[in-house]
Structures are given as C-alpha cells and as structure tokens.
C-alpha cells in the first residue's frame, strides 16, 4: 500500500504546477471566484489551453501513435487537480471524452481531421446530451435524426448545452430509431457550429453567473461522414466515455483551495479583540471540514487505483462525497465567518474575491450535474451492494 505518487510523478507535478500557475496568471484567464467557470469561453482562456498544449500538457495519457505522450492516467489526474487548485480552466471535453471516443470509434478521416486539432487546442466542443425531457433519464432523448440522401436531417431541441455559444463543434446525441428499446436507438453526430444552417442558440443564465443554452435544430443537414460511430450505438459510446475520465470528473482540489483560504482566514482573523482561532466553534469547523476533505481526496484516489465496476462505484462515491462536501463547506464557512461571506465578488468588503459567497451558488449544480446524486446512490446500491434495480 502506498498513498504517495511516485517521485517522478511528483517531480512532474511540481513543474506542471509552476507552468499552470504562470499561464493562468495572464490577464483574463482566472475569473474572479471562478469555481463557476471552468470553461474556455473567451480568447484569453483559449490561449491558456494553447499554452497548455505548447507546454506538452494535452493528451498526456493518449497513445503515442495518436500524438499523445503515452503516460499513465495518473498524469491526467494530477494535471486536473493542479488546474482546479490554481483556479485555471479545466482541460476540456475534447481531450477527455471526445478524443478518446474518437480514437476508438472515429473514421480515419475524422481522426485525421480532429485529433491534431484537439491536441493543439484549436477546437472547443459543445456536448449535446440533455433535452427538456431527458435529464437523469438520458436514454429517453428525442431529438430526431432521419436519413436524407447521403446525410441526415436533424430536428428538435437540446437544453443545457453550456458551450454552444462559444464552441466550434457540437458532439450531438440524437434519436435515429424510436421503435425499439430507448437506449438502442441513439446515434452520435459531429456538427459544425459555425457553418451549419438551422442551428438557433438561446441563452439560459444560471445562478452561479454562468451561461448555458437551449439549442434548437431546425432541419439541420449533416453529411453521413459526420455520423460518429455506428448507428444506434450512441448510448454505449456515451457510457463508455465515462470510463475514460471518471478519475478527472470530480477534482477535490476546488474544495482544497476553498479550505486553504478558509484556514488562512482562521489563522489571521480577529473578532471581538480575540484571534478567531481560539474560538471552539471555529476550531471544530476546521477539524470537521478537514476530515471530510481528506475522505473526499481518498475516494478520488481510489477511482484512479481501481478498475471496472469497482472504479464505477468508487466514482459514484467520489461524486457524492466531494459535491456534498462542497455545499457543506459553503454552509460551515458562512456560519463561522458571518455576513462577509454573503458579499458577492467585487462588492466592497468582500473576502477572498467573494469566493465564500459564490460557492453557495456554484455548489448547487454539483449535486445535480454529471449524474445527480440520486443516480449515483442508485449506482452504489445496484453495482456496489447488489440490490435490486431501485425504484
């Protein structure tokens, strides 16, 4: 048993951290209290990704023959945690979900066109999974794609496509067969968001300050060469992609960063003429949060250390633990520090760039997105405990 990374991994991580910190320090990369925004939604943040690419930090665990570095997934994990801690944008969906899926299911032409662009940070992706009537029950998605000559006609609506308004390509799940079991009739497409007629994007603004979108596809034509993977295999491709990036989905270093800022406050702040660190309620908060944080860290490491269904169960545990810690942390910190934590970023008198206010809003989505925590508990019950399908 060994809880530490290898010396060469740690040495690499130290260099990576210095590099990320330096690139993230350029204007416009770090957004205030940016737990809200991990996305590459501005030229400055695009440049950050290009910097990562130039530094050799994209495609770490991709096979060498695809232009990657052939390193173990621990390097992805370390980089992801570093970006989280440094308040830098996260390495995007192209490197994780789409590139990996493409290596397996893409046509030679798709691979030749997209993989180098992904590695060079030239493409940002929008992912079109959710719909108004397909959230947790993703397999019930309805947006319709039907054959039309050498291609397909797509009609319908997506919702919560966060990157649609700045992304370049759309990784789109559609319904091509409604006659059989619902998870068997789904097909994936790659859609050019800049040059395809019939795509209408309308914003939805969220309580964390982020923009997401509704996307309406009105008789959108897509050539068959942009179908991704076999017809009807979309749900399998989506599910499989979870295996590729389970270990980087829920970094705990956002929470570590928040905790460290809270601890810095505890060490230095005074109230009523006394250092707050002498207050038993403050000390109890430090202890409680540190225990939960250490636990979340170990859950996330266990995802990295395990394989197969055990990793799937560990990932569900990690998601629950870290997302609920995030919300709990926001509550505990507010209770301890008080009204200052209700001041938003940029408000006069705010603390830590308004971070302690923002996390109340940013935390809400964490127990909902990427498989709601109820879904995660179902996974643990069914796959971890062998209970019957929960209803």
């Amino acid at each position: 048993m060994e809880f530490e990374f290898l010396p060469e991994e740690l040495a690499w991580a130290e260099q990576a951290q210095a590099y990320v910190r330096q690139c993230a320090a350029k204007p416009g990369v770090q957004v205030k209290g940016a737990e809200a925004t991990r996305y590459i939604d501005s030229p400055e943040r695009r440049q950050f990704m290009k910097d990562l690419s130039a530094g050799g930090y994209l495609g770490l665990s991709w096979p060498v023959e695809l232009g990657g570095q052939g390193l173990s997934s621990r390097y992805d994990y370390l980089l992801n945690e570093i970006c989280a801690y440094e308040n830098a944008p996260a390495v995007g969906k192209g490197i994780g979900i789409i590139g990996r899926s493409m290596a397996k299911h893409g046509t030679p032409e798709q691979k030749a066109y997209f993989l180098p662009k992904i590695l060079n940070a030239e493409i940002e992706w929008a992912i079109g999974y959710s719909e108004p009537d397909a959230g947790s029950d993703l397999a019930s998605l309805k947006i319709k794609a039907v054959r039309d000559g050498d291609g397909w006609r797509i009609n319908g609506q997506k919702r919560f496509t966060t990157s649609a308004h700045f992304g370049d390509w759309y990784y789109l799940a559609t319904r091509t067969d409604a006659s059989g079991p619902k998870h068997k009739g789904i097909t994936m497409f790659l859609v050019d968001l800049h040059n395809t007629p019939g795509i209408h994007i309308t914003p939805m603004y969220c309580i964390n300050g982020e923009r997401t979108n509704e996307v309406f596809l009105d008789n959108v034509y897509v050539p068959d060469s942009q179908r991704f993977g076999p017809e009807g295999e979309g749900f399998r491709i989506i599910s499989e992609a979870l295996d590729f990036e389970r270990h980087i989905l829920f970094p705990h270093n956002y929470q570590q960063r928040i905790f460290d800022k809270f601890l810095a406050w505890v060490k230095t702040a005074r109230r009523d003429g006394e250092p707050v660190k002498h207050d038993p309620a403050v000390r109890r908060a430090v202890s409680e949060l540190s225990v939960l944080l250490e636990t979340a860290r170990l859950h996330s490491l266990s995802v990295l250390a395990l394989e197969g269904y055990e990793a799937a169960v560990a990932a569900a545990m990690t998601k629950i633990t870290s997302s609920e810690l995030f919300q709990h942390m926001a509550n505990v910190i507010s209770r301890v520090i008080g009204p200052q934590t209700m001041l938003r970023p940029d408000a006069e008198g705010e603390l830590c760039d308004g971070l302690f206010e923002l996390i109340h809003r940013a935390g809400v989505i964490l127990t909902i997105g990427a498989g709601g925590n109820e879904i995660q508990r179902n996974i643990i019950a069914r796959r971890g405990l062998g209970l019957p399908n929960p209803t």
Partner: protein, 377 residues
C-alpha cells in the same frame, strides 16, 4: 500510489476471518456478554498462535514485527466479528506502552507472555469524572520508601478481573509531568473491583485503590514520563479503533443489505425502494472512505510521517461517524425485528456506540486536528 493490500496482508485477513468465523461466531459474542472473564481463553490462545497478540511487537519479544497497516487489517477483522478478546487493551495499549517505555526487565517479563496469549494486561486511565485529559488523572500516588502509595479510583477498566496487571495512570504532583504509569496487580491488598454493566455488556470495572503499595520498579519509564507515553500510544489506539469501526460497520451493513434483498413488503424486496437503498448506499460510501482513511493513517504511522498523528485522529473521527451511521442504518432497515435481542445487528449497534464514547472525547480529538492544522504538526 497503490491502495491495495499486499498478498501477505490479504492472506492474513483471510486466515483471521476464517479463524474468527469458526471460533468467534456471534453465539460466542453473546455468551461473553456478562461472562465473568469476558473472553474465551481458548480464543485468546488461538489469536496468539496466529500472531495477533504480538503483531507489532519486535520479534525478540515473541512478536511478529509487523506494521500498522497489518494492525489495521487485523482490527477490521476483529471489528467484523466483534471479537470478545482484549486485543486492543493488552496488545496495542499495554504492550505498546511497555515496548515504548518499559525497562528491559519489564519487557522481558511481559511482552513474550502477551504475545503468547499467556497474560492479559489492561490500562486503567479513566476516572469517574470522565475526563480524557491529563487533568483527569487524579488517582494519587504518594511517594513512599521504595515506591508509591495509591489512593483513588478508576472506572471503565476493561477486563480488569482477568488482568495480570493494570497499567494504572497515577499522579504525584499538579502537572502533566507528574503523571506515571504503574503496573499494579489487581489482586494486591487495597484494590477492589466492581463489575459495572455497560451499554456494550462487555466486562468493565470500577477499580478502587485504598492505600495500595506499589514498588518503584513497577513504574514504566522515567518519573513523570507517563502522560507522554500514554499520549503517544493513544494514536496507535486511534488507528486500531478506526479499522475496528470499519469492520464493525461493514459487517452490520452486510446483515442489513442481505435483509433488504429478502424482506418483501408491498410485493417487492424493500431494497428496491430508494428510501432504503440510498441509506445503505450512504453507509457503504461512509465505510469505504473510512477504510481508506484508516489505512492512510496506518501507512503514515509506518512511514514516520509528520502528519501521522493528525491522520490517526481524522481517521478515528471519520470511522466512528461512519460506524455510527451504518449501525443506525442497520437498525432502521431491519425495522421492528432488528429491535429484538434475537437479531444480531443490535450487537454491532451497541458496540459501535460504546467504542466511540469510551475511548476518546470526540470534541478533544477534533480540537487536536484543528491545532495540527492551525499551528502546524
């Protein structure tokens, strides 16, 4: 990074689980409730034969010389079985204190006997006020010619009637540096034992000392070193107990999970209802995280890392809570039938509760964690 047990550790776990399944089934746990000794002597011998009683003791004293991850493996199994043997009291605490601070003569006298399962020794630290701090040690040790004269009382002393010696924390002055640990024979004149019935129904005693004469040679370590020794071994106790909580909780969850699969209400197994399944899932998550934390604390201890004490305290806090949650969930899922003495979940429920109250003041453990993080470790 590797969160797996070694092959040797897996073999140790499997062998111990087999032994405890055969020799320490719940029927034995039930028999030992209110038993005068509180443990089956043959079971103590069997554990000693496997090396459990001397697990982390040096080989020259008859021990196995293993580390604290091995200790965590062993204590998870002891917790699963609710094994009614004073391994924590005798092997981790008494032997730990003697190995750490005892004289060569004390080590030669007691460590091989403990490792062989021939002697039970148990610590006597708590007093009726219930303080876990140095100030809680009030039992008076007057220096007299050649030794000490003891007056005062200890309570919650486990297995005192079976013990060859009580490792008694005593005070000869006002400060923490006036505390010593003395090896006291519970049959010595002036010592009286009164069995006190506890929540877990394990053997606990009120021990009263009236003008008890103890020789200076019975002191463990230099004069005034008792509290430092006791504190140091306290972190090993937290590592062992963390793993014990994990085992206790994991076995209780297995019982509740099996019941949820077979118990039918509203025409379906109750485990198919999310209201039940999600409680079990949360118990499972809690146990899994607590296990990794217990292992990490053990690993840090073996590596001599500076954060080892904080991790032990954190592991103790997390695993105690996980065990409390899992055993409470067990009671809830088993419903009315689980409330009867006939079912086994109540055995786990009561022991989990008692262990998290009787071995430490949780608020003080929390405060220790806070100190480590605020002031450095």
């Amino acid at each position: 990074m590797d969160l797996n047990l070694t092959d040797e550790q897996s073999m140790l776990r499997d062998a111990l689980r087999r032994l405890l399944t055969n020799e320490s089934p719940v029927a034995v746990v039930r028999q030992m409730e209110n038993d005068a000794l509180g443990f089956p002597p043959a079971l103590l011998k069997a554990l000693a034969a496997m090396g459990v009683m001397g697990l982390t003791l040096p080989e020259e004293h008859g021990g196995m010389g293993l580390g604290h991850i091995d200790l965590a493996v062993v204590f998870e199994e002891l917790g699963r079985a609710l094994c009614p043997v004073p391994v924590l009291e005798t092997s981790v605490l008494a032997a730990g204190i003697i190995a750490r601070a005892g004289s060569a003569a004390q080590q030669a006298e007691w460590l091989p006997a403990i490792a062989a399962g021939e002697a039970v020794l148990t610590p006597a630290f708590l007093e009726p006020e219930g303080s876990f701090r140095a100030t809680g040690i009030q039992l008076r040790a007057e220096p007299v010619a050649g030794g000490y004269c003891l007056n005062g009382s200890k309570y919650f002393v486990g297995y005192a009637a079976a013990a060859e010696r009580l490792l008694t924390l005593v005070r000869s002055g006002p400060g923490a540096e006036d505390i010593d640990i003395l090896l006291v024979d519970p049959r010595a004149p002036g010592v009286t034992l009164t069995r006190t019935e506890s929540h877990a129904l394990d053997p606990r005693y009120l021990v009263e000392f009236t003008d008890v004469q103890v020789a200076e040679s019975a002191r463990i370590g230099a004069p005034g070193s008792g509290w430092a020794t006791w504190t140091a071994v306290g972190f090993d106790r937290m590592v062992a107990l963390s793993a014990w909580f994990v085992g206790c909780a994991a076995r209780d969850l297995e019982l509740a999970n099996a019941y949820a699969k077979e118990r039918v209400q509203f025409d379906r197994p109750i485990g198919s209802f999310q209201a039940i399944a999600h409680q079990l899932a949360d118990a499972h998550t809690g146990i899994s995280g607590a296990r990794y934390l217990a292992w990490k604390a053990a690993w840090a201890r073996d590596r001599g890392r500076t954060d080892a004490r904080r991790l032990a305290a954190q592991a103790f806090l997390r695993s105690a809570e996980a065990a409390r949650f899992a055993t409470r969930t067990g009671q809830q899922v088993l419903g009315g039938i689980g409330f009867t003495n006939d079912l086994d979940v109540q055995l786990f429920f009561r022991r989990a509760k008692q262990h998290l109250i009787a071995w430490a003041n949780l608020a003080e453990v929390e405060d220790f964690v806070a100190t480590s993080l605020i002031d450095g470790e």
